[in-house]
Amino acid sequence: MYAIDAGQEATHAVGQDALMTLLREHARDGRLLAYLNESTDASYARWVLGGEETPYADLVSVELSLPDASERRALQVLSGSHGPVTQRQLHEWKVWDLGFTKVGPMRGAPVPDELRSAAWGVPHIMKAGIDPDIYKACMHGVLDIGHPAIQANYALALQLLRERLIATPRTFWYIRGLRVDVMGRFLDPARHGQPGKFDFHYLIELLDGELSGWRPAGTNLYGFRQLPATLRLGRIAAAYQEAMPRGTNACRANGEHDPAVAGAGDGDGRPLCFTDATDRAIYRWYARSIIDELMAIGPIPAGANITTLQQLAGPLVSSSQGHLGIPLIDRMGQAITLETVHAKAALQLLSANQLPARQGDVLVRNLFSQRCGRTP
């Protein structure tokens, strides 16, 4: 029943991903719990940032302890798919995937022709890996709504749909529920007709699946390492926010944050300087924005005669936004913690038959003890 080819394929995919490989190799040595207990989200952040986390904190150069047997094997496995991988490289991947980096490399890169006219938010678009046509389509037509967080959900959903369509043979599109017609209505409504309520539900359902899973990072179309879907969502929302009138004045001309006006994150409601903020900080800003935008729209009536904005907001009311289980409105930032990321990667490993069910259980308990303050 479990084809051998499929198993090898799954192994190969796992072997491409830094976090999944680390988890699997530690689990193989019976050291999964020890590995997880090495750090919490907060202690890991303090370590890589060399102090308390702020939205603008830069990574410090950390000293890596000698790799243990599990980590050495993880390096071997990853070297099989990426060429020689050093311990430092593995560390840098992990830090990137967890959202501790900014947009420095994107600001230094040449702007692709199709993005020249976008003017705003270009480094964020490049880091989020959103195609220029999708970025623009989600500012116009039914999505000309001035709600950056809601627009970001649709832009990322369309991007993920396109990525799936490209990766899937055409004959499997129907079986897997991949609908190219939805894509057409957003990108070329003059030819395919305006997008409607089904399209909105469909895209947010697809997005929810992506946000709840963990995918090995590839390279995005701008040549950068692809971020996890949750962090892409924050970056694309930041791009739309910057394109808003009076989008942000929290940055200085050189792109660094202006301490006098830039938001300090968490309880501080002032706008962030996105070009100087980490992916994690931007995600936390996004998580508050999406709640604010949906609350401002208010309860969605069940009837058929509702505004386009209500139609766009409706599916998001039942979206779990990258949380495992129901999102707790006061803890939206948990969707990107080290514990949640580990749990998602572990569920993916379980699904690919690469982790014993009992080890997966250990991980999920770890997540819930963090989330609920005790073990179930």
Binding site: D208, G209, D330, L347
Partner: protein, 250 residues
């Protein structure tokens, strides 16, 4: 924002367990086998490397969990939203652990335009039936008097979760010694829900149904880890029903 009431946290934990069950849907593509009548095609999906079946099955699961939370919040409101005793919520917890879910897309053409609706289903009994009758402790949970739109349904998304539908043409096979009782199965409920709501007679179905349905038989996990290949915990199938040869997409 205020802190989530305790009951909510407890439920969030239970929902997490339910989601873990989704994570276990292990899956492997297989070729379609046609039904002799030529009307229904079943496609077992045994591998889900790209997470797509889990994506579709996650939709009814999430809606159901959100709905259950809202229902329990209303049910516990009379007691100030205080957490109920775990024993009082036992059957809700069991339901989340055991329920199967289905996700249907149904497309039809009306005046030359294609429309699609989404039908979600969950197995098991409606919420009021899950109140633990044998619970002897102090009671906190009261069936809410007003029925809200707990599943956030609209004219596109329906949720089939309530008991048997009267007058439906869709009936489960009668249970026999070898087959389980199917009246409350997720797929049956969805099919029953489609009949009264689709604009029959006014449309020509072209797309048909696309169903992801977890029929997971929980198998005892092999507890000892060893060199022998492990079997995954649940066995799941995904099915696609078609009314006619399908035309989908451009």
């Amino acid at each position: 924002m205020t802190h989530a009431p305790k009951g909510m946290r407890r439920l969030a934990r239970m929902v997490g367990i339910a989601l873990l069950a989704t994570g276990w849907l292990v899956a492997t593509p297989a070729l379609a086998g046609s039904d002799p009548a030529g009307r229904v095609t079943l496609l077992p999906i045994v591998e889900d490397d790209d997470h797509i079946m889990q994506t579709w099955l996650g939709v009814p699961m999430r809606r159901y969990a959100f709905g259950m939370r809202r229902w329990l919040e209303d049910g516990l409101a009379a007691h100030g939203g205080r957490a109920a005793d775990a024993a009082e919520l036992l059957r809700f917890q069991q339901q989340l652990r055991r329920a199967t879910f289905s996700h249907f897309q149904y497309s039809y053409t009306l005046d030359g335009t294609e429309y699609t609706r989404i039908y979600l289903g969950v197995s098991g009994r409606p919420f009021p039936d899950l109140v633990n009758a044998s619970y002897r402790g102090p009671r906190n949970l009261v069936v809410p008097a007003n029925v809200q739109n707990y599943f956030n349904t609209d004219d596109i998304v329906s949720f089939g979760s309530v008991g048997p539908v009267d007058g439906s043409h869709v009936t489960p096979e009668p249970p026999t010694a070898n087959t389980p009782h199917r009246t409350n199965d997720a797929e049956i409920k969805v099919l029953q829900a489609i009949m009264p709501t689709s604009p029959a007679g006014r449309c020509v179905p072209v797309g048909g149904f696309s169903v992801s349905s977890a029929r997971c038989r929980a198998r005892p996990a092999r507890r000892r880890s060893g060199s022998s290949p492990r079997k995954p915990m649940p066995t799941c199938t995904s099915t696609t029903w078609k009314e006619a040869p399908t035309r989908r997409g451009p």
